[in-house]
Amino acid sequence: MSTLFYISSIVAIASTIMVITRYHPVHALLYLAVSFLSVGMIFLSLGAPFVAALEIIVYAGAIIVLFIFVVMMLNLGQETAQQEKEWLKPKVWVVPSALVLVLLAEMLLLLFTGSQQVMQVSQVDPRKVALSLYGEYIIAVELIGFLLMAGIVGAAHIGKHRKPSLHRFLQNGDTEKEKAMPVREQEVISNEQTVLHD
């Protein structure tokens, strides 16, 4: 387990460093896929095979595909990479990196001052996970179902293109700019007049 864990964690850290330093979005996404795969390998070495499979299916499958769809739809390409190169000057990232490094050093100090005993890795099989998930955590499963439903509805509503409405009643007051515009004068035709004309 040990060598597997160390190799995959080195790969995970290296590929994550590559993710946050790339200029081109597609390169960053490819390194992100490598990072997710190696994290899945870490989970396998920690005795969690079900979660390792889910990591690869959901993260490296679904979420990466979502990102790639957005990159494709927005047509982010070479000019985005050029712009990123202009934005990521050293004076931009040095100070946040130093601050986060201080926090990281504190956390590592906290981790390595306590007692350290060797961890026995034993596999927690999916059967136990499923019994726990649908036993004591059943209310949380239902709540996460609500959350996913809200996420789907929210994404569908936010991502909808708002067409300019052609009807004059809907046009009046849809946005601020249109509110400011004078509305075309409509000649009022009442029912009595039409009856008289008839």
């Binding site: 979005p25 982010l76 990196s97 809200a150």
Partner: protein, 101 residues
């Protein structure tokens, strides 16, 4: 020392710090969302390490919840990115200042 749970926590902390650096330094919305994904993944790894140390399934259950939450978050976030790009024609977060006084 080699096999202690602290090593796993250390790797998770380093990944979380890398994601935090990404959120703080990037100005492109897509890269910020990617860094948030890295941070969520690192938090899930800490849960897996705890569940593996105590040999309980609860850590994996919590990782499943984090997974579902990340999926919902990334779908809403990417829809927002599409809408931002259609309305402002930019990906720079510093151009989005309608809510400023």
């Amino acid at each position: 020392m080699t096999d202690s749970a602290n090593m796993v926590l250390m790797v998770a902390t380093v990944l979380f710090a890398l994601g935090l650096v990404g959120v703080l330094t990037r100005k492109n919305v897509v890269f910020m969302l990617i860094s948030v994904e890295v941070m969520l993944n690192a938090a899930g790894m800490a849960f897996i390490a705890a569940g593996s140390k105590w040999q309980q399934p609860d850590g994996q259950v919590m990782f499943l919840f984090i997974l579902a939450m990340a999926a919902a978050e990334v779908s809403v976030g990417l829809a927002l990115v599409l809408q931002i790009y259609h309305q402002h024609k930019t990906m720079d977060v510093e151009d989005l200042k309608e809510l400023k006084d």
